[in-house]
């Protein structure tokens, strides 16, 4: 089955008013009259589904019944839930295990090693910054347009090819008031990266997630901020998985949005 046929089947189920329906029109335009008429019939069917399915009468007392639930859900006491016999058993186990755990902790060999603080090498930071700024300035088209983080994350997951990154695409929550515009997958030097575009007022920010391994970037390095072509680029390691993040920002304030 062709990829375009699959895409058409996906588009034909979109909600009326969805912006991606315009793409559907352009795909139907070159079709013969009869074939086009059949697809339009399916689209009409879709519209009827969206319109008819929500038409269900809601019981007038439903909300009142639901609001009573917390009153009826009195949580039993822990002792009552677990039962006195089992509670005594847990207490006995604790009494036996606590001294053993204490003894083990006391005698554990202590390490004098301090956590190693890793600085990202200047040449690596510059390379990442240049790649990120170059891509940011190219204003790449978004594969998915939405301000819903979950929706964008799911769509990016679908956009990624098996060899793009050895970990899932993540759309992190910003700590400052940035609006998500959408995202996509792009080239990032010799690699592929997932990018998301964010905005605050007239300012635009691009966040890249990529595998730092091909650039010999070690996980756990310290957050690094570098300047490139008038932009600030913040680079930091992933905490959920060994990916690397880079954020291109035209102002220093934007750099605090993620890390």
């Amino acid at each position: 089955m062709s990829e375009s046929f699959e895409q058409l089947r996906e588009l034909i189920s979109l909600r009326p008013g969805d912006s991606r329906r315009a793409e559907l029109d352009s795909r139907l335009a070159p079709m013969t009259g009869e074939e086009r008429a059949r697809w339009l019939q399916v689209m009409k069917e879709t519209d009827i589904f969206y319109d008819s399915l929500p038409q269900v009468e809601i019981p007038a007392d439903l909300q009142a019944k639901l609001l009573e639930i917390p009153q009826k859900q009195e949580a039993p006491a822990i002792a009552g839930r677990i039962g006195p016999r089992r509670l005594r058993l847990y207490a006995a186990c604790l009494l036996i295990l606590l001294p053993i755990a204490g003894y083990a902790l006391w005698n554990m060999p202590r390490s004098d090693t301090q956590p190693v603080s890793l600085a990202l090498a200047a040449d690596k930071a510059a390379e990442v910054a240049n790649l990120a700024v170059e891509s940011h300035e190219a204003k790449l088209p978004l594969a998915v347009t939405s301000n819903d983080r979950a929706a964008v994350e799911a769509a990016l997951q679908g956009e990624m090819k098996p060899n793009d990154m050895p970990f899932p695409a993540i759309v992190p929550a910003p700590k400052t008031a940035l609006t998500l515009e959408g995202g996509g997958v792009c080239r990032f030097g010799s690699m592929r990266a997932v990018f998301t575009r964010w905005s605050a007022g007239s300012k635009t920010y691009t966040l890249y997630q990529f595998d730092g391994k091909p650039l010999d970037i070690k996980p756990g390095f310290n957050k690094t901020i570098v300047s490139a072509k008038g932009y600030k680029v913040s680079i930091w390691p992933g905490y959920e998985n060994p990916c690397t993040w880079a954020l291109v920002s035209s102002d220093r304030a934007g750099l605090e949005a993620f890390d």
């Binding site: 019939q41 399916v42 969206y50 809601i58 019981p59 439903l62």
Partner: protein
């Protein structure tokens, strides 16, 4: 229950925000008003228990629908697979429905639509409703159900075919040349959660 308890305030907001659409979904899924009400109540009981443990979902709407679908999976597991699948006798009832509508417009007839929905296998009906009632895209649905996009598209095609067939029994022969009829019919799948 202290009415000013922030957990109860949150709970009230959820009831006002989601009870209506959850009921609609439950009714379309189960086809029975009593079952729909039970499912929605069980969903909110579970939501309240989570609140009591100070657990709050990041995306409450998606979370509520997930609980509801999970409760429904339990319901049909406990009551048998074919609780909701319409028997041929019911389809024959459709044949005698004296409506003069064309098949497509007949979908707007609520009774006919629900009876046609009843002919779908639970897994297909669930997928169909996740897209056309819950409002997920096909990709989001595939992600939630942890199945490939192609599986979701096949289930939607199958749903359309079965709905057309159910309506055709009422109105006349189905259109064999429908574009989505190019897709091979998917077999009915068990609904074990």
């Amino acid at each position: 229950m202290d009415q000013s308890d922030p957990r109860y305030v949150q709970y009230q907001e959820w009831v006002r925000a989601y009870s209506g659409e959850l009921y609609r979904f439950a009714y379309r899924l189960s086809g029975r008003r009593e079952s729909a009400e039970d499912l929605v109540q069980e969903t909110f009981v579970e939501a309240w228990r989570s609140l009591e443990k100070n657990k709050q979902p990041e995306y409450p709407r998606a979370w509520f629908f997930q609980i509801l679908r999970f409760r429904y999976a339990h319901l049909i597991r406990d009551t048998g697979h074919h609780l909701r699948t319409t028997h041929s006798a019911e389809i024959l009832d459709l044949q005698s429905s004296p409506t003069g509508e064309a098949p497509l417009e007949a979908l707007a007839n609520q009774e006919i639509l629900q009876k046609a929905l009843d002919t779908l296998a639970p897994r297909i009906r669930e997928t169909f409703l996740m897209v056309f009632l819950e409002g997920n895209t096909c990709r989001e649905t595939a992600d939630v159900l942890k199945v490939p996009l192609g599986t979701v598209l096949s289930r939607l095609d199958r749903a359309r075919q079965l709905l057309r067939a159910a309506l055709a029994k009422t109105m006349g022969p189905p259109s064999a040349s429908h574009p989505t009829a190019r897709v091979a019919a998917v077999p009915e799948e068990p609904f074990n959660e």
